[in-house]
């Protein structure tokens, strides 16, 4: 399956919190934190189609436009599934992930979001609309498990399998 990842500036390798104004962009490559998934991709027969990124402050300044653009770009690139995350406990990035994943699914593209419980606002607003995989906060325990679960859920969505049992166990 062909996967697009959507990252913030930190995960994409464009600096720290102070670089939240990074404009929308992307590479037709696995960049930054996507490399954490490298060893787990073959298990679900996945390849990285592209990595899209956006500064978390850029998103918060105009969530609607950024979401629209990301959805439009994903449609243009035509992946099988979009992974919005991993957002760890970065709250603004978590909001981006939940918002964009919800919009993607509304437009017919399977999407998975992932963040830790610290991203309360995003989780409480979107948990009933899109699957948000539970993951540890930055430096927390269980990262590799969570990464594999994100991919498993993505694969299930691509194959149009019933995800309700999996989501009940692993999502918010």
């Amino acid at each position: 399956m062909k996967v697009i990842f959507i990252l913030d500036q930190i995960q994409a390798g464009f600096g720290g919190k102070e670089r939240g104004d990074l404009p929308l962009g992307g590479k037709k490559l696995a960049i930054g934190a996507v490399d954490m998934f490298t060893n787990f991709l073959p298990a679900v027969d996945a390849t990285v189609l592209a990595t899209l990124y956006c500064g978390d402050d850029t998103f918060m300044a105009d969530p609607q436009t950024v979401t629209n653009k990301l959805v439009a770009m994903c449609h243009k690139l035509a992946p099988d599934v979009v992974i919005c995350g991993p957002a760890f406990n970065y709250e603004k990035y978590g909001m981006l992930c939940a918002t964009v994943a919800t919009a993607l699914e509304a437009h017919g593209l399977p999407a998975v979001a992932a963040m830790s419980q610290e991203c309360e606002a995003a989780i409480s607003e979107y948990r009933n609309q899109v699957t948000i995989v539970k993951m540890p906060k930055k430096g927390g325990i269980g990262l590799t498990d969570a990464l594999q679960k994100i991919l498993t859920l993505a694969a299930m969505k691509v194959k149009k399998e019933d995800t309700s049992a999996f989501a009940a166990a692993n999502c918010y």
Binding site: G15, L29, M73
Partner: protein
């Protein structure tokens, strides 16, 4: 191999990370740390490593100025055991879901119950007072033990609802103040008997007892190169899997390093010979530069010697945070987490730094650290100077930083070449750049 390692380390991290006692000790130190840092600055000003410093200020402020500053540093350092008791008790109270501030209050009372309060003066007269000998560094472990036992007892009684019931109509604030009565009474009575009982033994005081059977042996075990290697490896190995290594390792080593550091501070304050090598400043400023894994060395190589756009750019963006010890941008952005190539030097460089710094300190080339708690964001060079008072130490830090670059070089070059190839492939294959532009995208495309 990574997988096998992770399978062993994960349960350990989970156990340590969820242990309420260890969390309480760690969080308790979080309460005392800011106090120690601020008091350290006062101590540092009093003993600034510049010749004629004291005489210079004597001329301006008068000869009593040192006592002004000493009083601030003493108010923290000479009470650090007492403050640890308070901090840990409060944090443990929170962990046990009981009235934390009340629990902390009764814990420090229990600590003082165990402390001798009759001071015999030189002439033989005796007064009521507290000897800071008991409340300072030597009391750190006792402070922790008392905090944990007292709060456990307090929570036990409170959870069972052992309170005095007030008649209806008594305002809630009044009723609440009585809620703590029996739990507090239980704690105080238990420590009342503990003091009497230990007083009958050859230890004389509980302070002596804990100091001899717990603090001294644990400190001895922690003050070895072997223990420091374990500590250093734990810090980086856990990070390799995305787990905050220092948070895990400090839950075990924190109290021991605290004692070692405070002993040096006490000696520094008193103008005596510094006793310990392995202090907090030593491990913060002579084994790691720019955050865990000594990643400032990595960033320098990324900027100076890497060719791929991604690595070079990330290096530049990470330099300023890196100088101040923040490496979040490369931990996830490069990434370092779960990256089998970079994890090798990430674990090796701090280990190398530790071994060389230990040798260099033992050989007397750089002085022992004075224990002054500088913020961990203090940049390389300054930190070496301020924590030892020696310019040689600052220069040594720079040399070690460069040596770290040499170790990181071959590994980051492997990654750099991979990225260069990827970037070139992506360009060739699609006969266009690998950049995705959002310039022309609009929602109307849907």
């Amino acid at each position: 191999m990574l997988h096998a390692l992770e399978k062993t380390l994960m349960p350990l991290a989970e156990k340590l990370g969820k242990n309420k006692i260890l969390i309480a000790i760690r969080d308790g130190f979080l309460i005392t740390t800011p106090l120690i840092i601020v008091a350290s600055l006062f101590l540092l000003f009093n003993n600034f490593p510049i010749p004629h410093w004291v005489e210079f200020w004597n001329g301006i402020l008068g000869s009593q100025w040192q006592s002004w500053f000493a009083n601030v540093s003493r108010s923290v350092f000479n009470l650090v055991g007492f403050l640890s008791c308070f901090g840990t008790a409060y944090a443990y109270g929170r962990q046990l879901d009981t009235d934390a501030i009340q629990a902390a209050g009764v814990a420090i009372v229990a600590f003082i119950i165990l402390t001798p309060t009759d001071l015999v003066l030189k002439g033989g007269t005796s007064i009521v007072g507290l000897d800071t000998e008991y409340l300072g560094t030597n009391g750190i472990f006792l402070g922790l033990v008392v905090a944990l036992v007292a709060v456990q007892l307090y929570a036990f009684a409170a959870k069972r609802g052992w309170t005095i019931k007030m008649p209806d109509g008594v305002p809630p604030a009044v009723a609440d103040s009585f809620a703590a009565l029996i739990p507090s009474g239980l704690v105080m009575i238990v420590f009342f008997f503990v003091r009497i009982f230990v007083g009958m033994t050859s230890f004389g005081t509980v302070h002596n007892f804990i100091f001899e059977i717990l603090q001294t042996p644990l400190k001895g075990a922690g003050n070895t190169l072997f223990a420091q290697v374990i500590y250093g490896l734990a810090c980086t190995l856990f990070w390799s899997f995305g787990i905050n290594g220092p948070a895990v390792a400090n839950s075990v080593f924190g109290p021991i390093t605290k004692v070692l550091t405070m002993e040096n501070l006490d000696a520094f304050q008193a103008g005596k010979t510094l006793p310990n090598i392995f202090t907090d400043p030593f491990s913060n400023f002579f084994t790691n530069f720019g955050g865990g894994g000594s990643t400032l060395s990595l960033i320098i190589v990324m900027i100076l010697f890497c060719k791929s756009q991604r690595i070079k750019q990330l290096g530049k963006l990470s330099l300023i945070p890196g100088i101040f010890g923040i490496n979040e941008p490369i931990i996830f952005g490069l990434p370092i987490v779960l990256n089998p190539i970079i994890l090798i030097p990430f674990n090796l460089v701090p280990l190398m730094n530790l071994l060389i710094s230990t040798a260099v300190t033992k050989l007397g080339i750089i002085p022992y650290t004075n224990g002054v708690a500088l913020p961990w964001t203090t940049p390389v060079g300054f930190s070496g100077y301020l924590s030892t008072g020696s310019w040689v130490a600052a220069v040594y830090q720079i040399l070690l930083l460069i040596l770290g670059c040499l170790v990181y070089y071959p590994f980051i070059k492997i990654l750099d070449n991979n990225y260069l190839k990827e970037e070139a492939d992506a360009t060739d294959k699609k006969d266009e750049t690998d950049d995705i532009s959002f310039d022309d995208i609009s929602f109307d495309d849907l």
